[in-house]
């Protein structure tokens, strides 16, 4: 079976190849290609409506691609003999009949694969739902619903986890818990692929990033490279000779702003260059610091053109 027991030659677990999905005239995913590897948490980032959920639904076969492929471990999801052990998915939080208890929902899913009751209890304990497992899901809070969704995803002890906005509705403890959980699962060699529209969330959990906007791939890189590549890093200088320093620094590709007297914010160059320039002209510096752009800035910059439902002042006043 795909060399599972032996040494793995292919370390790609999720393979998205020229995936396109149209709903009527609307294109949700547009010729998307990327891979997800095991052993690390991969973040799937994009503004709302970017096509993240559609891509994830295509991976587990709920939506058929208009064209292109979504494969897991070299196969289409429906070809697996044990789908729940290959891929555990949390899609929309409430994928549960409101009239059924959490325990019975898990039990019904477990039965399809001959998963023992013991495992059902295990995942209930793991996500911390033991006190409410017998209650009807209709009365669950969003956070409890998310925990149940995570229990469902973990039920088959799968090699690949696909989680769509898993932190939505979780309290701060829950958010911390899921970060630790996901990193631990990745460390076991599993593939963890989670989406979010919040950069800050992924920055703390993911190592690798796939960024999309309007259904198209914007970036497929590590979190570190993503920030340094897209973030606006600026050099902040405090100097009594700010005005003269600005004259010496000015040049093509360099922009200089002065938010207050004696302070410069220089972009397009590095702190070392600013320091050398000051020294060369005998100018005094009180402060010299590089402001690294945040992941948020990088994301905003990259998706600026790709935000579909951008709120405009025009739209707001209408």
């Amino acid at each position: 079976m795909n060399g599972r027991s032996g040494r793995r030659t292919v370390v790609i677990m999720i393979e998205i190849e020229h995936l396109t999905k149209r709903y009527g005239k609307k294109t949700a995913v547009d010729d998307l290609t990327f891979n997800v590897k095991p052993g690390v948490v991969t973040g799937f980032l994009g503004p709302n409506g970017a096509g993240k959920s559609t891509t994830m639904r295509a991976i587990v076969g709920l939506d058929a691609p208009t064209s292109g492929l979504a494969r897991v471990n070299g196969k289409h999801y429906s070809e697996f003999q044990s789908p729940l052990s290959e891929v555990g998915a949390l899609l929309e939080a409430k994928s549960v009949h409101a009239g059924r208890s959490a325990h019975n929902h898990l039990l019904a899913l477990a039965r399809t694969h001959g998963i023992p009751k013991r495992r059902v209890q295990e995942v209930i304990d793991l996500v911390g739902l033991h006190e409410v497992a017998g209650k009807r899901v209709g009365g669950f809070s969003l956070g409890m619903g998310q925990r149940l969704g995570i229990a469902v995803a973990l039920l088959g002890d799968p090699a690949v986890l696909i989680l769509d906005e898993p932190v939505n509705g979780l309290d701060p403890d829950g958010v911390k818990w899921i970060r630790v959980l996901l990193k631990g699962l990745a460390a076991e060699g599993r593939t963890v692929f989670l989406s979010s529209h919040l950069m800050s969330e992924l920055a703390q959990t993911a190592e690798h990033l796939v960024v999309i906007g309007q259904g198209r791939l914007l970036a497929d890189t590590t979190v570190d490279d993503f920030v340094s590549g897209n973030g606006k890093s600026r050099v902040r200088v405090v100097s009594p000779d700010a005005a003269r320093l600005a004259e010496h620094l000015a040049g093509p590709g360099i922009s200089i702003a002065s938010p207050e007297k004696g302070v410069l914010e220089v972009s397009g160059t590095e702190a070392a260059v600013v320091g050398q320039t000051a020294a060369a002209h005998g100018l005094v510096l009180h402060e010299l610091r590089t402001d690294r752009g945040s992941l948020e800035d990088a994301f905003m910059q990259l998706t600026a053109d790709a935000v579909e439902y951008r709120q405009t002042t025009e739209g707001a006043t209408r």
């Binding site: 599972r4 027991s5 793995r8 370390v11 095991p38 052993g39 639904r57 587990v60 076969g61 709920l62 939506d63 058929a64 999801y77 429906s78 697996f80 003999q81 044990s82 789908p83 729940l84 052990s85 290959e86 891929v87 998915a89 899609l91 929309e92 409430k94 994928s95 549960v96 009949h97 409101a98 009239g99 059924r100 208890s101 019975n104 929902h105 039990l107 019904a108 899913l109 039965r111 399809t112 694969h113 001959g114 998963i115 469902v152 088959g156 002890d157 799968p158 090699a159 460390a187 076991e188 060699g189 599993r190």
Partner: protein, 273 residues
Amino acid sequence: MTAAAMTERPAAYAPPANYKLSATGLLRSEWTKLWTLRSTWIVLLCAVVFSAGLGALVSGTVPADLEIGGAENAVGFAMSGVALSSVFVAVLGILTITGEYSTGSIRSTMSAAPKRLGVLWSKAVVFGAVVAVLFTVMVFATFFISQALLDGTELGGVSLGDEGVTRALFGYVAMIVYLTLLAVAIGAILRNSAGSIGFYIGVIMILPQLATLLPWGWVEDVTPYAPGNVSNTITYVDPAGQALGVGESWLWMGIWLVVAYGLAGVLLKRRDV
């Protein structure tokens, strides 16, 4: 960097090998789903109460001097509640599928069984079997209750050994199972609770009755073949005078089920969940 990265990367994870999706598993899963909803118990209880209660009520209030008799009428009196309870059961059958779409649990279900068709067959088999067992008990129990109440009237004294009686009673069971299975397929085709229930009651149950009021001759020729009518023949103690023979009745039930499940299966495969 490479050396560190290589050692950091853990060995590939191998999922447990003893979990397997199977047909038996899907059947057990649907069985669990059916009985873990309160609505199942309520609706089936309603069906039992109406079918036995109405049969008993009608039989118990027959005046002693009523001048109709015979096995045909006796069975008809006893089974007077069955048509009504078939609506309860059909609605529940519809809900086993449309309830999954309205609550979103269909996504969990189809993620666990991505080939999808097995889910449809399992729902039909499990619910069909439950209804078959329940209504076999119900139909015969109601018949005995009814006969006990009819004792002393012209309609009394009918036994299972009388010609055609046992067959007619099983005919009622078969009719209910057939209508239930049809309802499940309608639910799978339309995916919407209100739409499916409306279609079942309006098009399957009422339309063929209304059609008989139309003045055109061909309508009269066609209505016996309507999905809601083809099972009528098998409920008669003496089916001789019916538009369809017993064999034709079974054949047409089969045809409609094949049509309904064929369409439901194709749509289930083609549509996004």
